[in-house]
């Protein structure tokens, strides 16, 4: 039977990918960040999941305004890195797990989640930067990957509550899969940041730290936070945090916290990471 072995929460700032790709991780600007996330490398080396379900958002890359899915799942065999204007990132192609992805899709839809099923999917920094953070620069990614893509660009994104419920359904779906595979779930995006408007550059450290504490120890209390509060307190792009709640919903209510790290700034963003195991 498939088994969920842990969850990672991490921002997915594009500049982190560029820093890794260009070998800048030991430069003064980057060293504090890469030192701070070092434990995730050790942890993943130890738990070695067969499959990573990466919850992320597409940034006007694969999808444009013509069709905007709220929740899309990638059921294809391979996902090429998308060209985001600089050429595709020099990372290995992302290998899917169609059998498990279709199992999850079927389970989630029958469980009342209205997934969009995507066979033809390129993936942008939202998905590849977390892989690079966790695995570094291997010749091939050492896990299969199932992309779970969430709309957070077009208002309204799904609510935090809905995301958490999707995570709970994802857990049921994983555990009803017969083959004996190990699965990790990544919730990506956030923390506070705003890329646009006169408030560009907004960071709300205090709110982020309080939210992270709740995220680990009392996630149900975060579910009543509405979009207006996220937009106001964490910035127009900080609302990406709802994606972390999918990962959290997949984990047990009580978890063991392996690592927590917070750092400002990364580009225009506050960076956060947590690693969780079921207790």
């Amino acid at each position: 039977m498939a088994r969920l072995i842990g969850g990672i929460g991490t921002s997915h700032v594009p500049a982190i990918g560029a820093a890794i790709d260009r070998g800048k991780t030991q430069e003064p600007y980057w060293k504090p960040l890469f030192d701070g996330v070092r434990p995730v490398r050790d942890w993943i080396e130890q738990v070695r999941p067969d499959v990573c379900i990466v919850i992320y958002n597409d940034h006007a890359s694969r999808f444009d305004l013509s069709v905007i899915p709220t929740f899309a799942i990638g059921v294809g065999a391979e996902f090429a890195p998308h060209d985001e204007g600089y050429g595709p990132r020099p990372v290995p192609p992302v290998v899917g797990d169609p059998a498990l992805a279709w199992h999850l899709t079927e389970s989630l839809i029958l469980d009342g989640f209205d997934m969009t099923i995507v066979s033809d999917l390129t993936v942008d920094h939202g998905l590849t930067v977390p892989l690079s953070l966790v695995y570094g620069q291997p010749q091939a990614w050492p896990c299969r990957v199932i992309p779970l893509c969430v709309n957070v660009i077009q208002y309204p994104p799904p609510t935090g509550e809905r995301c958490y419920r999707l995570g709970q359904a994802l857990r049921r779906a994983i555990e009803s899969y017969a083959p004996d595979v190990t699965v990790a779930v990544f919730g990506t995006g956030g923390m506070s940041h705003q890329l646009q408007g006169e408030r560009a550059g907004l960071i709300n450290r205090e709110y982020d730290l309080r939210w992270l504490e709740g995220f680990v120890h009392a996630p149900e209390e975060l579910l009543k936070i509405g979009h207006a509060e996220y937009l106001r307190e964490t910035g127009s792009e900080g609302i990406e945090l709802v994606m972390w709640l999918i990962m959290r919903g997949a984990m047990d209510p009580k978890v063991r916290e392996i690592h927590r790290f917070y750092h400002v700034p990364v580009s225009n963003t506050a960076y956060g990471m947590v690693i969780l195991e079921n207790d």
């Binding site: 408030r199 960071i203 509405g226 207006a228």
Partner: protein
Amino acid sequence: MMNSPHEYDDIPGTYVFDGSHNRLGYHLNMFCKSLDVAANRDAFRSGEAAYLDHYPLTPEQRRAILERQWLEMLRLGGNIYYTFKLAIFDGLTMQHAGAAMSGNGMTTEEFQQMMLAGGRSITGNRSRRETPRG
């Protein structure tokens, strides 16, 4: 453009990309999206005005694009992930765009310094009611 009131309307300096913005900026954003394709970038580079003729833009949107008025594009329905494709085309960074959108003459260097110092403070920036800017 009809837009029912939203709780987020009073957040200062923030253009929430909702249905109204989507309708207003649809073609502006889809123009930006077209720059994903190398051949389109070449065509745009070799004649910006002619290239824009293929998109049903308002005169204001055309001008904002041609003059790279980053804040104005947001007001006219632009979404930052789309308009930033035009900034990438121009070889600009997110710090440049951030400074330009600050709307107070901030330079890119000043914006970078603000980020290094912990970013723009939330204090005074939660609601139009609390900001002098109103």
